[in-house]
């Protein structure tokens, strides 16, 4: 095939450049940075969330007080609930970016192989977590929606009107179906975290041959801590450890 490569040739004047972040985002590599940075935000969030919830094991009062405290961070320097709402908006923004970038990258990857292999692939390196990122991502996204409706907005929470957050948690997790859903969702989160934590080092270009093998260990440790903590709550309620 005569590939007339010279048609591409000729140095052209550099095109007008957009702002750095816009330029970066246009590329797939830039979108991966978005995935990684928002991922780091979520990592911080899920870790803090899990640690905070450990107060369930202290007492109802401690737990409720902690929930109260989240609303009054920096009060009275900032208005009541302001910091929490700013954090919420940030998380929401990060979520939108994370999901949008994921969606766009998925589209790109579909286009890169419209005609898939007819025979069964025999994967060597890609583990289950890596290959199921899209699905665990969707499960976690659905779970976030339910979780907010359950505890933040209380729309689907089985507890009575005016119940404390502690009571809402007990009410939800006492239901085996809901507890089961939390377990499944957190296992999905675990898979997502495991690949995501390792992967973000690659996407961010954090790379040093001396430390690279620690990235896997870190991913495992982080996932075990967060998911282990999260799984313990519905289980503790189900077995009557907390009530």
């Amino acid at each position: 095939m005569a590939t007339k490569v010279s048609e591409r040739g000729g140095a052209s004047a550099p095109a007008k450049r957009s702002p750095f972040l816009v330029e970066l985002y246009r590329s797939a590599l830039g979108k991966k940075y978005v995935m990684a940075i928002t991922g780091i935000i979520f990592m911080g969030y899920v870790l803090a969330h899990m640690f905070g919830n450990l107060k369930l094991y202290q007492s109802a009062a401690e737990f409720n007080a902690y929930a109260e405290f989240l609303g009054t961070i920096l009060y009275p320097i900032a208005p009541d609930g302001a910091v929490l709402n700013v954090l919420r908006v940030m998380l929401l923004g990060a979520l939108i970016l994370h999901v949008t970038a994921a969606f766009q990258l998925t589209q790109m990857n579909r286009n890169a192989r419209p005609d898939s292999y007819r025979s069964k692939r025999d994967f060597v390196a890609a583990d289950f977590a890596a290959r199921t990122m899209r699905w665990t991502g969707v499960i976690v996204l659905l779970f976030i929606g339910y979780h907010l409706a359950d505890f933040t907005f209380g729309w689907v929470n089985p507890a009575a009107e005016g119940a404390t957050l502690y009571e809402k948690v007990i009410a939800s997790f006492s239901n085996p179906a809901i507890a089961g859903f939390y377990l499944v969702a957190n296992l999905a989160l675990g898979l997502h975290l495991y690949h995501g934590v390792w992967s973000l080092f690659q996407s961010m270009g954090w790379n040093n041959r001396r430390f690279n093998h620690w990235r896997r260990y870190l991913a495992v440790a982080f996932t075990v801590v967060v998911v282990g903590g999260n799984l313990s709550f519905p289980i503790a309620v189900q077995v009557g450890l907390i009530s």
């Binding site: 095939m1 005569a2 590939t3 007339k4 490569v5 010279s6 591409r8 040739g9 000729g10 140095a11």
Partner: protein
């Protein structure tokens, strides 16, 4: 018979090339873009020439039958590239590299070309390092060298066992830069099937697109062939499967003389073939001979494993016969020594068709890690192919056809006997005489492409300023295209019973048996009667299936094998008339009492260049006398 004019200018050899560069005509920078140059082949020679001519401002069109310029077979060279840098202060110099190359070539190369080659060798290293070729370095950060066969200084630069790859990628990348700059157009999947000659000058080429089957015409002010060597005439060789002689041969049929076709190099260290169905032989870099020791058991009936055979029962035959060069004796000598011991029945391996290349001593002396550092990828490759681990058991090696010193005859300007048609790299015959030293092929390819051809092409083009290139509607283009189409139709309509590969294998057997490591009058005459008979059978009985307007590798191959038949005949003819032994050409009738090659400088210190007459059996012989004024002719001794 005519005596050819090699156009070597007069003068002291040290300043010959520099003086000549000054006296050659130049094309003014703004006029360069008025000239079109066609380059066929994108190996080291072709890619480096195309990139350099593009940089200079010529309009370059470069053709490769591969899917990318980077696939050319230069990529497979493992060991290294020579240069007279003398970075290690061991007494190397341009003159010594020149001297070693002439001597290594058994005094059958042209002094002026070889001296120029040695001179520009240093520029090549500079150029490649600047391109980012990751040559091996010492801990101080300076370039490392290794030694190679036929030299007593360490002058070989290398990039692990992938030197050819790295140099080719350097040239390919330089080419890519010119593509981006718009000076060079690369046409991939395009096989050159004819050279068009108009009014005695090369006017262009005919190509076939291997994917669509489209036949097209291309014209230019000058045409350059960098299309490699013809080792595949032997079927089994270390060359890539598609390496062929077609471009050079079709140029030969159009009037370019073919020089010294009998000079073929048998590389001493290839992996022996394992069975009948083998498609190619794999080379193990000659650099292994730096640390490996070659031996066979004394007893032909030896049955013990290599490690169990005591020193007293081993014959380190190279160290015994050539004490000063030992395992680093030149390729032709090492190869024939291996053949001798294997013919004596002392061969090793299941088919008793190899000799041991043993690293036990090196591992003991340097440690396994140091050996792995130097040769790790070669050892891995060996293990992949044979299933044996060379750290534990010695490698088995045997000579294999590897390189062809013969090729299109070119003058000092690298121009063939067709004005406007140049040949560079392995495709020409110029620099290696009757035997090429290790790590010199890469040197020659890049010397021709980067540093010689760009000057000499300018000298050819300068007087043509203002003349348009020949129009591709000229009757000569019509005739050439018709010829190409007729041959393709012929293959598809023969509808015989045997595959192209079958004929190729049979031809290869004849060539190996009678025109291989040893040649005799009787054998060559036998080959000269068998080849035409087999060719006639090929013409009437070959089976090529499929169509011409699609990818059809059998069809491609049929054309190449047809050319191998004609070339094979010429090789045997050339071997028959050269009544002496020199380098890669060993005639059993001409040897010393000790079995060493016996040259006949009185009668054969010349290049034989053959002219096509239309009948393969009756080529016209021409000669170029070789004058040795700077190197004294002597019997090569590596003892």
């Amino acid at each position: 018979m005519t005596v050819l004019d090699n156009k070597v200018p007069d003068g002291p050899i040290e300043s010959l090339w520099d003086d000549h560069k000054f006296s050659m005509k130049l094309v003014n920078p703004s006029n360069k873009r008025k000239f079109d140059i066609i380059i066929v082949g994108t190996g080291l020679a072709g890619a480096s020439a195309a990139a350099t001519l593009g940089e200079l401002g010529y309009r370059v069109k470069v053709f490769t039958f591969h899917d990318s310029p980077r696939r050319a077979h230069s990529i497979a060279a493992q060991g290294g590239i020579n240069a007279a840098k003398n970075y290690h202060g061991d007494g190397d110099s341009v003159f010594r590299l020149f001297y070693d190359t002439v001597k290594g070539g058994d005094y059958r190369s042209r002094e002026a070309n070889v001296y120029r080659l040695a001179q520009v060798s240093n520029n090549i290293i500079d150029q490649c390092v600047a391109q980012g070729v990751p040559f091996a370095r010492e801990y101080g950060g300076l370039l490392d060298n290794r030694s190679f066969g036929g030299a007593q200084v360490s002058r070989t630069f290398y990039a692990r066992g992938q030197t050819g790859q790295q140099l080719l990628l350097g040239a390919y990348q330089a080419l890519a830069r010119q593509v981006k700059a718009g000076t060079v157009e690369v046409v991939t999947n395009a096989e050159m099937l004819d050279v068009v000659v108009v009014d005695g000058r090369a006017a262009g080429i005919i190509t076939r697109d291997l994917v669509t089957g489209e036949i097209s015409r291309h014209s230019a002010h000058a045409t350059v062939l960098g299309t490699g060597g013809y080792s595949n005439v032997f079927y089994l060789s270390t060359n890539a499967m598609t390496c062929n002689v077609t471009a050079a041969w079709r140029a030969h049929r159009k009037g370019a003389f073919f020089a010294n076709p009998a000079y073929t190099q048998i590389h001493p260290t290839a992996i022996p073939s394992s069975d009948e169905f083998q498609s190619k032989l794999t080379l193990m870099s000659e650099s292994l001979r730096n640390d490996g020791r070659i031996w066979v058991p004394n007893d032909p009936d030896e049955t013990r494993a290599a490690a169990d055979i005591p020193e007293s029962d081993r014959d380190y035959y190279l160290e015994r016969r050539y004490p000063s060069f030992g395992n680093l004796a030149p390729r032709d000598i090492s190869s024939r020594a291996a053949k001798i011991v294997v013919d004596e029945g002392k061969g090793v391996g299941p088919l008793k068709n190899g000799v041991y290349l043993d690293f036990a001593d090196a591992i003991g002396r340097l440690g396994r890690d140091a050996v792995a550092d130097k040769y790790g990828n070669l050892f891995d490759m060996y293990e992949r192919i044979t299933g044996e681990n060379p750290y534990d058991v010695p490698m088995r090696i045997y000579p294999a056809v590897h390189y062809t010193m013969g090729g299109l005859w070119v003058d000092y300007h690298l121009q063939t006997t067709i004005p406007g048609l140049f040949a560079i790299g392995e495709a020409n015959f110029s620099d290696h005489g009757a035997n090429r030293l290790g790590a010199s092929a890469l040197m020659q390819g890049l010397a021709d492409g980067y540093f010689v051809l760009p000057h000499t092409v300018g000298d050819y083009l300068a007087p043509q300023l203002g003349q348009p290139k020949v129009d591709t509607s000229a009757p000569e283009f019509d005739a050439a295209e018709e010829g190409v189409r007729a041959q393709i139709d012929g293959f598809l309509h023969t509808k015989g019973t045997r595959s192209v590969d079958w004929f190729h294998r049979e031809l290869g057997k004849i060539m190996w048996d009678y025109c291989g490591m040893e040649r005799s009058k009787v054998g060559l005459e036998k080959a000269l009667s068998e080849i035409p008979a087999l060719r006639a059978e090929f013409e009437s009985d070959v089976r090529v299936l499929g169509a011409a307007d699609t990818l059809n590798s059998s069809l491609e191959k049929a054309g190449r094998v047809a050319d191998f038949f004609e070339l094979g005949e010429l090789m045997c003819k050339d071997a028959l008339v050269r009544e002496e032994s020199a380098g890669g050409h060993f005639r059993v009738e001409h040897q010393t009492d000790e079995g060493e090659a016996l040259r006949d400088d009185d009668n054969f210190a010349h290049v034989t260049a053959w002219e096509w007459t239309g009948t393969p059996a009756e080529p016209n012989e021409h000669r170029e006398a070789l004058d040795f004024t700077n190197v004294k002719l002597s019997t090569r001794s590596y003892k």
